[in-house]
Symmetry: C3
């Protein structure tokens, strides 16, 4: 794939990824990843300091599924809705097998009880995709949040 095609594929992928989470279809969320994947949530400070651990760290698709199960079972948090707004990606590397890209995002949270919306998280996806034809799966998604605060109240995937 060339850079323009790669960019179109990544933008379309991100739109579906965000809808999956925002419309509460979390059981389908691990399907956006390959089996042997890395998904982590970190902050600018952690990334700068080269702390690998991050806020959340999953290194297989099974761990993503476990995380969804845990969220469903716990399910104690106050009813709330999320909305991702994902910017246009920047493709840094692409060939027929993989795409490396970065994409800014913002997530808004609306509390069902009060109806108030606020900015919940802002940051970047730092991604590596596996490409098969025109289908993409995430081999690595590091979610770099602008704030380290996000950990204390993190419920849904970003």
């Amino acid at each position: 794939v060339d850079q323009l095609q790669a960019s179109q594929l990544v933008n379309a992928f991100n739109a579906r990824y965000a809808r999956c989470i925002d419309q509460d279809q979390l059981e389908a969320w691990p399907e956006f990843f390959v089996e042997d994947c890395l998904y982590s949530i970190s902050s600018r400070e952690n990334v700068k300091a080269r702390y690998e651990a991050g806020i959340i760290y999953c290194d297989s698709k099974g761990m993503l599924a476990d995380r969804v199960s845990a969220l469903r079972e716990a399910n104690v948090y106050e009813p709330q809705h999320y909305l991702h707004l994902v910017g246009c990606c920047i493709v840094d590397v692409c060939d027929d097998a993989r795409i490396v890209s970065e994409t800014p995002f913002t997530v808004y949270r609306t509390m069902a009880a009060t109806g108030e919306s606020c900015v919940f998280a802002t940051g970047w996806y730092s991604d590596e995709f596996r490409v098969a034809g025109s289908e993409l799966r995430l081999h690595r998604r590091v979610v770099v949040c602008d704030s380290g605060l996000v950990d204390t109240m993190l419920a849904i995937p970003l």
Copy 2:
């Protein structure tokens, strides 16, 4: 049109739709719809409960024009600016005659008096477009807001 073309057409359409509203050219807003259209604003809760009424419900282009006239005549609200930020669409169905898609959006409001900006509304457009060549018009746009609160202070179209 194929899915990629459809996606490009919808993204371009949404950018112009948002500019029309944000730059206060409301008289041109009904032109984004076909005569026999449906435009409604609802909330996640209402959609889930299958309440059709919603916050606003217009089922013809004439009703959209009436709504703009009413806004212009009333015009009592405090001076304020809106900005839509519209995400990348997801095309679920497309052929040469119609496109069915969903698109996330956020609207910010800035009060002229204080200069302060806040998140005014977040949600999804659930759309059906009529296609003629490369021109789109909305046959149906259901604006699904994350919050039911939006009704009490709704002034401009979303």
Copy 3:
């Protein structure tokens, strides 16, 4: 370039422009402009009243570099991160030599000390690009903010 190609080029340009600022590579920021450029930050009210001065006004690439140097030397402000989210552009004019377009944007600010994020600025880029092959540079970027408040606390480029 046709309108679709122009749109793709501008969206890709804006993604890189925003990343350059958000990832604090300000020294590279003037390279997005031609030598003989205009960069200004203004507000809706100022633009409507045809005040040219605006909040910031730079009419050469050298002035942009000077501005970055000044920011680096001053560097007294509280540690903070910015994130641009840039919408899809609207191409109003395009040929092989130039593109005239408008693009909505939002900038979020996160304070390092507290980790809190807020909407820092919302508005439009009103742009004229010079085109050379598939490479774009800004001949003119007028940043039209929804709020006039932005001037009192403006630190980074928008």
